[in-house]
Symmetry: C3
Subunit: 338 residues, 3 copies
């Protein structure tokens, strides 16, 4: 049974173990299409309104690609300046008009709550591609999907795992949403490592506690962590009042091959929401980790396409029709070989 048909996807709060399983099962089936072993035209003629009112390339192109991979077409915006929104138009009006131009909408907007407000005026389903400091549900889902897949390679499951979250846990919406989803599971240990001023908010802490998970808080990366997953965050410069304030925290929890080996297991999976700041004065994930097979950051991006294909297929009710519209891949491809 498809619980998603015609529904908006605005928040991780909408998900439970059953709906997560539905999404992940379909995502698994999308892999051959993303790897160009097959292709499908199941959404031939359908139109995605890819409405990005905030600067983004990767998430916008990821949603657009996911829709193209199902055979659909994309109409998009990239940025606010070219929009009537700058002439005082309400989100409701924008939704009533723009939603009539597509079969489904993926939307990103800098203001918290904006996507839900848009959804109220929309005549088609809306998928939240990020509403400022609030949510980015597809990121949380692809993170969870990645965790499940990586743990499965180690013969483990999400229940009972140990995850370390490092860096800016106060402004990082990805760790908030991921934590919420983890509350659906059992016996998870979380080690939260951040400067005190950037600690995980109380609201999230309360939910983790209610779910019965064991949480360790520290402001130092020390000793040996037997973490299965290490989720590194980026300093959310745009969420701080000023760059100077953000800069105080850069480099606090840097991870490179040497530090990784010192504190983590030989198979701890390293994750990061990207983009990764590679400038000389940044902290984050050093490039010497690029060849470490435990660095899952690019597999996360790949999984994002699978999860978004799954959400599109489920919302438009075609998850069981994908194979019916299979075609061959007629061109030479280097994909799926890595």
């Amino acid at each position: 049974m498809n619980s998603f048909r015609g529904q908006h996807i605005l928040s991780v709060d909408q998900f439970d173990l059953d709906t997560i399983r539905q999404v992940f099962a379909v995502a698994n089936r999308m892999a051959p299409y993303a790897h160009r072993q097959k292709r499908t035209k199941v959404l031939d003629g359908a139109i995605l309104g890819n409405l990005f009112f905030e600067a983004s390339t990767r998430t916008r192109v990821s949603f657009g690609t996911a829709f193209n991979l199902l055979g659909g077409e994309v109409r998009e915006t990239a940025g606010m300046a070219t929009s009537a929104l700058s002439k005082g138009e309400s989100l409701y009006d924008t939704a009533r008009v723009l939603s009539s131009y597509s079969d489904i909408v993926a939307m990103r907007h800098p203001d918290a709550g904006s996507v839900a407000e848009f959804a109220q005026g929309s005549r088609v389903p809306v998928i939240n591609g990020g509403d400022g400091p609030n949510e980015h549900p597809t990121q949380a889902l692809l993170d969870l999907y990645t965790i499940q897949k990586e743990l499965a390679d180690h013969g483990k499951s999400i229940d009972g795992m140990h995850i370390a979250m490092i860096g800016d846990l106060k402004y990082g919406r990805t760790v908030h949403s991921l934590s919420k989803l983890l509350c659906l599971y059992k016996n998870i240990r979380l080690t939260l490592i951040s400067p005190q001023a950037l600690a995980m908010p109380d609201k999230v802490m309360a939910e983790l506690d209610k779910a019965g998970h064991r949480v360790t808080i520290t402001d130092q990366l020390t000793g040996s962590l037997d973490a299965d997953i290490c989720y590194q965050t980026r300093v959310q410069e745009e969420r701080f009042a000023s760059k100077a304030e953000a800069d105080q925290y850069r480099g606090k929890f840097r991870l490179n091959q040497q530090i990784y080996t010192q504190h983590f297991k030989s198979n701890t999976v390293i994750m990061h929401p990207l983009p990764r700041d590679s400038r000389a004065d940044a902290n984050e994930l050093d490039n010497d980790l690029n060849l470490n097979p435990n660095l899952a950051i690019f597999r996360q991006a790949d999984n994002g396409v699978l999860v978004r294909m799954a959400l599109f297929a489920l919302t438009l009710g075609v998850e069981d029709l994908v194979a019916k519209y299979d075609c061959d891949v007629q061109w030479f491809t280097t994909k799926g070989q890595q």
Copy 2:
């Protein structure tokens, strides 16, 4: 007989009753495709050059969607900064080059006369999507189509109707173009309500007079108007010398449920070219009218897609082939149910 095959569509001056009927007849036939009851691939392989050299989201996406709904593909620009036009390239050169990249062009540009100039160098048909203060013919056509459709619901026709136009009638190109089209009809009464400084230009007044229409001019919204249509305009901030000057006229002719009930009939249709300014200090159309079934502003936007589909189909000569390339809609849709 199709009068449009291979022709540019630059101005409302090109239209007469016969060509308008052709466009509206095809637009009617496009409704099932826009409502996703059917889909067509009649323009499969065709390419629209959607060249928007001025900020716009709704009109650009409307044109792109109309072309996608006919099965075609879209290549577009959004804004001037990314264009060679900023390196001193002439519109003629731009047209010779960019027109070779598509089968038909829809174009918006801030300068009056620019689209006609581009069309001279273009090797494919060009549809004017708005050339600054000059014309926006597809808007005029969708406005007229909306009027005809709304009046038909009341058992009336355009001949003999009474339309009130309110607000900025000096800079509002939509009311100029609509008035020109109305000159093709008979026995129309127009009540023009605007500040004296924003009155309808003499040129338009002369044409209305020549067409034998009765025109009443006033700078007050008073009494009972038995208007069939009320066309509200927006303050064209970008056409004034300064924002301060534009602000003098905001709120002069505000319309909300109470004012509407006070001055209009119970079935007067309310129209507006959008976007509607919903900020606290704006005038225009209040949100308390949103649930009033006589508010036709979103039906106008929907009709814009039908009219643009019709113009594409006629110009590319496929108006009688659309049904031949029908396919089923394979996905779950919430459209056409409102």
Copy 3:
């Protein structure tokens, strides 16, 4: 045999006479599709990542159109501001992520060497659409293709031809790349006409010398040149330190009908990489040449689509499958009639 399958196309240095012949042979076969006599769906389902991190309309739309003309789909970016690159992301990371969203990438970026760096992280073939002052190989190829085609109309070939290059030969990457390709041919005479400060760089001069070509250098356009081809360049304002510096050289080598008749043959072909500056104070190519049949500048742009279609077809290994997926053109077309 296709030498291009799965390969990056980053520099003219990759080409020899054999590979050039392969590209031009396929480009010739693409003409009926670009002229809408036929259409093909050979790349139906394939996705081009059209990654333009620098302002461009014509080249971006040319690549996109070429891919659409083969039946493929396009996902693109236009500009840097909307990219994570502005958050310190490395080109390697950008490539690892964005390349997973398409089957092939065309890329433009303002920094020399950037496209090659991106290609190292890319999981799909990358075509260089221009990396700053460095290279723009598809421009060089379309220039050479145009030269070959125009000379063939005169019963001549590239071997033994006489080409005059005029204007900014120091910063003009198009003349550098074209000169390199000409080094593959025999017995070419080059007349290089530029201000001394903007002379062809020594590196290029050395290669021309090594190839055995005869080069004449002058800073004046005088007398009668029996050139077969006259390649005019534009003042590369963006490559100078300041506009004032660039302005010193404007107008030095203006070409109009009178000057052309005075110095060139009656059938000397006039070429220019576009855009052409048509403002009053510009030099370059005057509009009075627009009706001169020897003005090949728009044929160059048309040929750009053919060459890019050929590169896509060869890289994705479908050059011999194009005709297999032929379809009719269902719409009325004015193309191919000029």
